[in-house]
């Protein structure tokens, strides 16, 4: 049994909750090496997403839902993270378009397309201290788990775990993209806010799949 529209909706509900809960923490991370709005941006975006979920047609697929997330994030978040997360959900939703239920491989396809979308917009490489440093380990861990034949919830859990480690691993890095890149060495010791919010979103996905 794969992940259907109920999961997609649950994921977004949980995302809105977890982002709102961590709003202050994301603001603080961004204040330290950016401009202090990341928590506010994400919170604004996912509250908007929450408000749109009910408007989905009854027969919507997960891909439809995730595409709605994409356009909503693009039109409400702003900043760097708005277009980047928006592109991630847009490309990800296209990768799973039309499917009623997502299999483990679909989850990997979604995550891979999402990550690739961010890279093609933002041009960040691994180690640049951006959200990519959470997305790429997540994609790799998800692919490995799916390769081992794990279930969808397990694949998402592997992704979330890896994203969290990836986010933590941004701390010692010097940033080469985004606002933190202006800081040079002074960014060292601080976690990238977008990597942290990526971990939160993937954790929400895993939690929603498990329950």
């Amino acid at each position: 049994m794969g992940l259907g529209i109920a999961w997609a909706k649950a994921w977004m509900t949980e995302s809105a909750r977890i982002v709102s809960e961590h709003r202050g923490e994301l603001i603080t991370l961004d204040r330290e090496i950016g401009d202090g709005d990341h928590g506010e941006n994400m919170d604004r975006g996912f509250s908007a997403v929450l408000g749109k979920l009910d408007g989905l047609p009854a027969d919507a697929s997960p891909g439809d839902a995730l595409k709605l997330v994409a356009t909503t994030l693009i039109s409400t978040v702003g900043g760097a993270s708005g277009p980047l997360f928006g592109t991630a959900f847009l490309k990800g939703s296209q990768a799973v378009a039309g499917k009623e239920e997502l299999t483990a491989d679909d989850v990997v396809a979604f995550l891979t397309a999402a990550r690739d979308g961010i890279v093609s917009r933002g041009k960040a490489e691994t180690g640049d201290k951006t959200m990519i440093d959470a997305w790429t380990p997540a994609v790799d861990a998800a692919a490995a788990a799916a390769g081992e034949g794990r279930s969808e919830p397990e694949v998402l859990e592997a992704a979330a775990d890896a994203a969290e480690r990836g986010a933590a691993d941004t701390e010692p890095l010097v940033a080469r993209k985004g606002r933190a890149s202006y800081l040079g060495e002074r960014a060292v010791g601080h976690r990238d806010p977008g990597a942290q919010s990526t971990a939160l979103l993937l954790r929400a996905a895993a939690v929603s799949a498990a329950s």
Partner: protein, 333 residues
């Protein structure tokens, strides 16, 4: 946090409404999505100029909407780039058939959102060009950063490109003028205090009573280095040096010297800064033939200033002197 605001979430909406109410002869504001356009837009046959970005830098950009400068401004949330929708709507509202130039400060968020807007506007058959302002010498422009930031020099780009549009230049020519200004302007800033973003509620960084931050941006991002407070003249030397290092100027060359306040610094201090900066340039034989002093590209209530030097030529002088009629910059009409 003590501010003359109501709900922090409504700061931009209410300020834009107030702005439009105060300047009805110059601008009209759209409420949803939020943007501000020239009252007489679209101006048929003339290139339209749009700029935008996070709020909190006022009068940038809405204060520069009007004849001779911007056609529209698109304010995002405080310190947050606007989303593509209002940019697209503004584009449709001001296109007079000669195309639209986006003047974008070099921040990842601004670049990406204007990029998407340009795609969407093109899909509606509006000819759009974008140019990126990146005048801040505090940031090393290398493979290892997002590149230089767009800061106070943006005003000079907007004024001069606006004059080119007003005289009837076509889209390519207006874009070329904007690029030319950007290539000839360098800026460097200093902060004495940090701004407090309304929705954050706390200062963006903390400086003790004896520290200043050199190479600050306009978003309360920390700067290049933190040093002990020095007399203004010494600090000015620290700001001018990297500008002239990056853009060597010969004796006899003409410049516009722009001392910009970050929002919370009194004019007396800006003029003290101007005095010393002009003296340093004069010592090198550089001729300050135009000047601008005031709070034009701010960072909320941050105390501090930036110095911009624009290397002029006859064309730029003529376009700078051309009439402009906006809330924050006005002459010749």
């Amino acid at each position: 946090m003590k501010k003359l605001i109501n709900d922090p979430k409504n700061v931009v909406d209410e300020a834009v409404q107030g702005f439009a109410a105060a300047h009805p002869e110059l601008v009209v504001a759209s409420a949803d999505p939020i943007f501000v356009r020239r009252a007489d837009a679209p101006v048929a046959g003339k290139v339209a100029l749009i700029s935008g970005g996070g709020s909190g830098h006022e009068p940038l950009h809405a204060g520069f909407v009007g004849p001779g400068m911007l056609s529209a401004a698109v304010p995002g949330a405080v310190f947050t780039s606007p989303t593509p929708d209002p940019i697209v709507e503004a584009t449709k509202a001001v296109d007079g058939g000669a195309g639209v130039l986006y003047i974008v400060k070099n921040y990842t968020g601004d670049v990406l959102n204007f990029e998407t807007a340009a795609d969407l506007a093109s899909a509606e058959d509006i000819e759009v060009r974008s140019m990126i302002v990146d005048d801040d010498v505090a940031v090393k422009d290398s493979l290892y950063t997002a590149g230089r930031r767009g800061v106070a020099g943006t005003v000079l780009v907007e004024k001069i490109a606006g004059a080119a549009a007003e005289r009837g230049d076509d889209l390519d020519a207006v874009t070329a003028v904007a690029e030319k200004v950007n290539s000839r302007v360098r800026s460097m800033g200093i902060a004495l205090t940090a701004p407090t973003v309304p929705h954050a509620g706390e200062p963006s960084f903390t400086l003790t009573d004896t520290e200043v931050e050199i190479g600050i941006g306009i978003h309360g991002e920390p700067g290049r280095e933190r040093i002990a407070l020095e007399p203004a003249d010494a600090l000015v030397a620290r700001l001018v040096a990297p500008i002239l290092e990056d853009m060597p100027l010969e004796s006899g060359e003409k410049v516009l010297l722009f001392v910009n306040g970050m929002g919370g610094t009194p004019l007396v201090e800006l003029y003290i800064v101007f005095r010393r900066a002009a003296a340093i340039l004069a010592e090198r034989g550089i001729d300050v033939v135009r000047s601008l002093v005031g709070n034009y590209v701010t960072s909320l209530e941050m105390q501090g200033a930036s110095i911009s030097v624009l290397h002029l030529d006859d064309e730029l002088i003529e376009l700078w002197d051309a009439p402009v009629e906006t809330a924050a910059l006005r002459w010749g009409r």
